[in-house]
């Protein structure tokens, strides 16, 4: 059983120190693609937190109680990707029926994250680092919080930059990438935290 202290360390290190986007480059596509406005970025972040936390829990349970007992750990990639894809579908259907308010808020983002590589990445990292189910869920939650933090910050910066006079070739994506690079430098500062 993991102690509270270990869980706290996982929480900080996954959300800030080794930020999923800025130092591990997972989930880069939505990070660049859905960061035009703070509102949409926050919505995307919320959906990612929801899905990754759920997916890391489900993947952890399946790994522990199905893959390990049958000695088929090597099938983890196939099993995880299918579980995640199916899970997002079910979540979408469930939310649409049961919690329409939440579906209104997150619904449009769910399809975008079905195979966001961060979801699969977290599930695989949990196995690689031999986290238990609880630690895995905490890790998933922390990773997703890290994603949300960085995408909201980037969206804020992009809103500010929108009307700036950027040199021709750097308009659009290059400027966003440069901003992301500067954010990555800033996040390097967290590495002294642990």
């Amino acid at each position: 059983m993991t102690s509270v202290k270990e869980l706290l360390i996982i929480l900080i290190s996954s959300s800030l120190v080794s930020n999923v986007v800025l130092s591990q480059f997972l989930g880069l596509c939505p990070f660049l693609g859905v960061s035009r406005k703070i509102n949409t970025a926050a919505g995307m972040g919320g959906a990612v937190i929801f899905v990754i936390t759920l997916a890391s829990g489900v993947a952890g349970v399946i790994y522990r109680f199905v893959l390990v007992p049958f000695h088929i750990e090597y099938l983890q990639t196939i099993v995880f990707i299918l579980v995640i894809a199916a899970l997002v579908q079910f979540v979408e259907m469930f939310l649409r029926k049961a919690v329409p308010a939440l579906y209104e808020a997150l619904g449009v983002y769910l399809p975008l994250i079905t195979t966001n590589c961060a979801v699969l990445g977290v599930a695989l990292t949990n196995v690689q680092k031999e986290y238990g189910i609880l630690a895995g869920i905490v890790n998933g939650f922390a990773t997703a919080v890290g994603f949300t933090i960085s995408i909201v910050i980037l969206a804020g910066l992009r809103e500010k930059m929108e009307h700036n006079d950027v040199p021709g070739p750097f308009r659009g994506m290059p400027m966003v990438l440069l901003t992301a690079g500067l954010m990555a430098i800033a996040f390097c500062g967290f590495s002294g935290l642990l």
Partner: protein
């Protein structure tokens, strides 16, 4: 044989997945800390891409249209697992260096994109060469980016010192921020090329048409970010993967979305007639105007 050569050239130069289409950016940024890592990742992806293209193409008549995406994923994931086990057995150092990014090849946009846009509608041999060509293009690109980062960040190339002693390595280029800076430079070069090409009247719609745009308005098929069609939806609907479609209780709501997405993506390719047609038609018509640049090859073949 001519066909095979054409596919190789297409993947290496004309539709280079990294330099032209900007696809699969996650592995591109993550593993290119050195030229060797880039080469290793590229070769691994090449093997998976070629084999999965071959397999999907060979099975294209058996796989029902409505479940093709899950089928593709299972095939791709199987090959990734095989390659991962082989790497663990024979190239352990590379496996350690690439870590979690090997299994993550499964969600690489390039592989699923090629399966969807080429292998599923073409015979096995051209598909195999299409996979090899795309894989080679990816490998060359990753090796170049890795080389640049290694050269600037450590003064070395493939682990050998090439810069003069007086050169102080700019360490940040092998760290995470450097990846963003190098990609920003690459993306700026693309913009320059695009502007120059447009001036000469060339078709530049392919440049940068990959995963670097606004997701919410994107109608791209086969992008791994939008595998919504996991359930048994009907094929027409499945290919109309716009966000509008997701909550398309009213088709009226879906249309502006799609037209907007098309506007952004391939302005040059859509003439006003088609847009008008889309305005009058229902959601079922949307796939027709959603043919995006890198999927156009397959559509042409079908005709």
């Amino acid at each position: 044989m001519n066909k095979a050569g054409e596919r190789l050239w297409n993947g290496l130069v004309k539709e280079n997945p990294t330099f032209v289409l900007m696809l699969g950016m996650c592995p591109t940024l993550a593993v290119t800390t050195s030229a060797v890592n880039g080469l290793g990742m590229g070769m691994t992806t090449l093997v998976v891409l070629a084999l999965s293209n071959l397999m999907i193409s060979a099975m294209r008549k058996i796989i029902p249209n409505s479940v093709r995406i899950p089928a593709f994923i299972v095939i791709i994931a199987s090959f990734v697992t095989i390659v991962q086990l082989l790497l663990e057995a024979y190239l352990d150092s590379l496996n350690d260096a690439l870590g979690v990014y090997i299994p993550l090849i499964v969600v690489n946009c390039i592989i699923l994109g090629r399966a969807e846009s080429y292998a599923y509608s073409n015979p096995p041999i051209p598909s195999l060469f299409d996979g090899i060509g795309m894989g080679l293009g990816f490998t060359v690109a990753l090796t170049c980016i890795g080389g640049v980062r290694e050269l600037l960040g450590a003064g070395e190339l493939f682990g050998r010192r090439v810069m003069p002693e007086s050169f102080t390595p700019i360490g940040i280029f092998v760290l995470a921020p450097g990846a963003f800076f190098v990609l920003a430079g690459l993306s700026a070069l693309q913009n320059v090329a695009k502007a120059a090409g447009a001036k000469k009247g060339k078709d530049v719609s392919k440049i940068g048409s990959g995963c670097s745009e606004d997701c919410l308005n994107c109608g791209q098929k086969g992008c791994s970010r939008r595998l919504v069609e996991f359930g048994a939806q009907d094929p027409e609907k499945a290919s109309a993967q716009t966000l509008g479609e997701t909550d398309a209780k009213s088709s009226g709501k879906a249309e502006p979305q799609t037209v907007r997405g098309t506007d952004i993506r391939s302005l040059g390719k859509v003439d006003s007639n088609i847009l008008e047609k889309a305005d009058q038609s229902d959601v079922q018509e949307i796939p027709d105007i959603q043919i995006l640049d890198w999927t156009s090859t397959a559509k042409e073949k079908k005709k």
